[in-house]
Point group: C2
Chain length 395, copies 2
């Protein structure tokens, strides 16, 4: 685990037993920023967005945040007016205890949809959370937000800027319901750099587009997806174009690292495969084709079996809606050439392709031969383990 401490931020976690299982796992966390952070966020596009997402979406408009309250085990989604009341009440109480304006307390929830939070128990746990805030608390916090994840996802980077050194650290959760547009994922990224909220907003939107939006485990977009970027401002400012570029690159790096950690921890997943489409009529077409391949059950089961059943790749491209034709498509599995302009490559050895597919991480390259559009999506294999996990999730 990296050292995740970022000047200006403290964090803590506690086991509230949100699911009522008595397993003693950490399942509620708190992050406090002193002084108030500049803040930006990106949220699920799911129209059934959960109560905490509705609250975050509205409150983030001020560009300021003082605390983030997070729980796992319960998504507080499809809980009607009662669920909204619960979330507002918890934020208000946290604001009172931390001396933070209520509307600067954000909340995120992840877990099962459709049940009410144990709000009384959670409210009683707030004093423990405030009493135990520490600059090193992000490690505990990163474990409190997990659901079916098998491990925490964290990363940090130090940047040398014109007026001093800045730090970006991130923690994330997510393992299933990982989808085209974001995922059932929460990610929290912190920096001590002094950056106005409007600029944070631009930067996080760009980073999310290059990372969390380009991963897929099962194609389901969750009701609770949230990425928050907070800047405490106790560190350096971004003084020129070069600082801004360096910061954006650092942010991209952290988001991509967290996104890749999410895919690699996908439920029942044994490998991470990059689907790279090039030669598409335009980037949007490349995106269509790459997502269709990356989400095809038949492709994903073939990946699990390390079976170079490449016809399934071709079929997925064919129904993706991207301009494509049987005479122009070319295909590589790792460095093994399979198809060239629709004709089988002479000397193609299925064994060689199968060998590539036994690796933990490799790339499938599909050239549509139509133009210069391109897109890459990270996907996973689909194993019997995935089905088992998702059949038994609540039992």
């Amino acid at each position: 685990m990296d050292n995740l401490a970022v000047p200006g931020f403290t964090a803590s976690a506690v086991a509230v037993d949100i699911k009522g299982k008595g397993d003693g796992n950490l399942d509620m966390g708190l992050i406090v920023c002193e002084p108030r952070a500049a803040a930006a966020g990106v949220f699920t596009k799911n129209s059934m967005a959960a109560a905490p997402v509705l609250i975050c979406r509205e409150r983030i408009l001020s560009g300021r945040a003082g605390a983030i309250l997070v729980n796992s085990g319960n998504a507080n989604c499809s809980t009607g007016e009662g669920g909204m009341t619960d979330a507002i009440r918890l934020c208000r109480r946290a604001g009172e205890m931390g001396n933070i304006p209520e509307e600067e307390v954000l909340m995120c929830s992840t877990g099962v949809i459709g049940g009410r939070l144990p709000a009384d128990r959670m409210e009683r746990a707030l004093s423990h959370l405030f009493d135990n805030l520490s600059p090193d608390g992000l490690e505990q916090f990163s474990r409190a937000i997990l659901t079916t994840d098998t491990r925490p996802k964290t990363d940090a980077v130090d940047l040398v800027l014109g007026s001093g050194e800045a730090r970006i650290a991130g923690v994330a959760k997510g393992a299933g319901m990982i989808a085209p547009n974001m995922a059932t994922m929460l990610a929290f990224v912190f920096t001590d750099a002094r950056i106005p909220a409007a600029q944070l907003n631009e930067m996080i939107t760009e980073s999310v587009g290059r990372s969390f939006n380009n991963i897929t485990v099962d194609g389901d977009t969750s009701t609770n997806d949230t990425v928050l970027l907070l800047a405490s401002g106790v560190g350096p400012t971004l003084d020129d174009e070069s600082d801004r570029t360096r910061f954006q690159q650092g942010l991209n790096e952290i988001c991509s690292s967290l996104a890749e950690q999410i895919v690699a921890d996908g439920e029942g997943t044994k490998k991470v495969v990059q689907i790279s489409v090039l030669g598409a009529a335009d980037d949007a077409d490349a995106d269509l084709a790459a997502r269709a391949v990356a989400q095809s059950l038949l492709v994903k089961t073939a990946l699990a079996a390390a079976d170079p059943n490449w016809g399934r790749l071709v079929a997925a491209v064919g129904y993706s809606g991207a301009l494509s034709s049987p005479e122009k498509i070319s295909l590589n599995i790792g460095d093994v050439a399979v198809l060239r302009n629709g004709e089988p490559v002479e000397g193609y050895e299925e064994m060689a392709a199968s060998e590539v597919m036994r690796r933990d991480r490799y790339t499938i390259e599909i050239d549509l031969g139509e133009g210069t559009g391109q897109q890459s999506i990270l996907t996973t294999d689909l194993t019997e383990e995935y089905v088992r996990i998702n059949s038994e999730y609540r039992t």
Copy 2:
């Protein structure tokens, strides 16, 4: 097995060992119509359509067909120019042997994508197929077209029309790659009624829209999907509106029966679930929502476990793109009310919902509360067995 014989049609089948496995299974079939049938067809929209689909699509434009040659075990797709040459040569040879104009011989293939047909062996088998044609041959034929199917899909209906009795019989295959727009499926429907090709075309298009297009097993649209409707014309004509209605109803019935048989035989499938969306802003929105739910991996694994984890249904509606909101959605699992206008139904018992979900066949009803649009889609559970079948399909 129903009696499938239809006046004017004969059929046969043979084991050619297309996959080279020596299992002795029937894998090549022939249907001949004497005299020439009026014909119409509906084909995959996949841009990587297989060679036989390209041939069928062009030849069906004449509205006439004399024979259909079918093989399983190999899709003859992504086979370049060589694959097209193979298909054309087999049709030509069949035409010569059956004294049928070459352009009235149709061909359909289903199976693994990317390998060439054993065309020499298939050509040699043609004489056996022609020698063994029989009015009762459709039963054998229905077995020769299967791939991962566990059983043949057939149905027949007799209709009393104004000028006499007519018959409609159908055979189909399909178990995986069953998708939003048609499926990896072949269906052949025969009648002795005397109906012009243009009218057959209208009728089969309507029937496919109500049946094969509304089933999903895994969301993959295949490269080889084909539905053909042939009318020998040795039976009665459709004399008035009442005859036409009766015939259309009979055709709908056969297509729906075959479609439901395909879903019920979905790979690894234990149950068939109807997803009925109503109260949508319009029918197109209902379709979006129903398909999103019907194709969600998380929904399908919950169906497998008989787990009323209904939050997954709500989440899928939310990302479907259909107009919907958390305050208006209502939900029933069978006759168990779960959600009313976004609020949990009082007295809802999870055990009761779980009991419904243990049935082989039930309906989930989702009311969006936005308008009068509706759509129903048949889907299946997703089991570990599905993953096993599709990981091991070629091995």
